[in-house]
């Protein structure tokens, strides 16, 4: 599966790409929300998950999330929000906007790996239910 990672820190992206690779998925990288939207327009049929940093320059993760979830071409793609703040109001806002899950930085690779598996499992369950 192809996973789109939008994260402005190159080092943090490297760490996330490693986790995605170890799970056997292919990572495509965006350094801000605008680049993520551009990659999504071109490759949305191949993308099975989006991992979004909340705080990014140009276009932040929350704006990308709302664009993804209000566009029928992308709305079915699960989104995992990664952010440095664990403010309850933010979590509720992201979940209401359609995020599948939320992970607070700093996180260990194992924690991210577990979250990705959970989101993909949940998304597969939803798609199976829809097909039935």
């Amino acid at each position: 599966m192809r996973i789109l990672i939008a994260e402005d820190s190159a080092l943090m992206r490297r760490a996330i790409v490693n986790v995605v690779g170890k799970l056997g998925h292919e990572a495509i990288e965006a350094e801000n929300g605008a680049s993520a939207m551009s990659l999504l327009r071109k490759q949305h049929n191949k993308i099975g998950l989006i991992i979004l940093d909340w705080n990014m320059p140009v276009m932040d993760g929350y704006e990308v999330l709302t664009k993804v979830k209000t566009d029928e071409r992308y709305a079915e793609i699960p989104v995992l929000m990664a952010t440095s703040a664990g403010v309850k109001e933010d979590v509720i806002k992201a979940i209401k906007a359609g995020a599948s899950s939320y992970i607070v930085k700093p996180f260990k690779p194992e924690a991210l790996s577990k979250k990705i598996k959970e989101v993909l499992k949940g998304s597969h369950g939803k798609q199976t239910a829809k097909a039935n």
């Binding site: 820190s9 080092l11 943090m12 490297r14 705080n55 440095s84 403010v87 930085k105």
Partner: protein, 174 residues
């Protein structure tokens, strides 16, 4: 709450940033990081190699800087990217410091919202010089420096802050 200042609100702010630095640094370092105290200063620290600056708005305003030496910055950046510190370029080290500051900002924001202070913190600015000038001080603001003890190298927090909302609404800590 750590007793850093006579003013209760300022003490709360200093505590939030201090605990955030300890939390974030501890997660990327095997060395123990402890705060050794706070002091009011006339001039900010200007001798560090790298400064990560955050700008606050909302119920608290002002600037907060994390001052680091290059060795500490390199170690932290390598731990964020899970790579060899000796292979990192200066740009990558600055990128790592930016992410570190971003995480400290997020951690602090969570603590402040939990105390009822709805504060927003900007994306970090990473520079080789301090962005905290003496001119940032007003008659009601002081520059505070928090010193830390860590075997990885030098790290300190310096800030010039003001609480704009004196009686915050208490919210439940998330």
């Amino acid at each position: 709450m750590l007793q850093f200042a006579k003013n209760k609100e300022m003490s709360l702010l200093l505590t939030a940033f201090t605990l955030a630095v300890i939390d974030v640094f501890s997660s990327f370092s095997t060395s123990r990081v402890t705060a050794t105290g706070a002091r009011k200063v006339e001039q900010p620290i200007l001798s560090a190699d790298i400064y990560g600056t955050m700008y606050l708005s909302g119920d608290t305003t002002g600037k907060v800087e994390v001052a680091l030496d290059k060795e500490m910055a390199k170690q932290m950046a390598a731990n964020i990217g899970r790579c060899d510190p000796e292979l990192l370029s200066d740009d990558e080290i600055n990128d790592g410091v930016g992410e570190l500051i971003n995480q400290i900002a997020g951690n602090t924001r969570t603590r402040l919202w939990g105390q009822g202070y709805k504060t927003e913190i900007s994306l970090p600015k990473v520079t080789g010089y301090s962005n905290l000038a003496e001119s940032d001080k007003t008659d009601k603001q002081s520059i505070y420096v928090i010193d830390f003890d860590c075997s990885c190298g030098f790290v300190a927090l310096q800030m010039c802050l003001r609480v704009t909302k004196s009686k915050p609404v208490q919210t439940t800590q998330s």
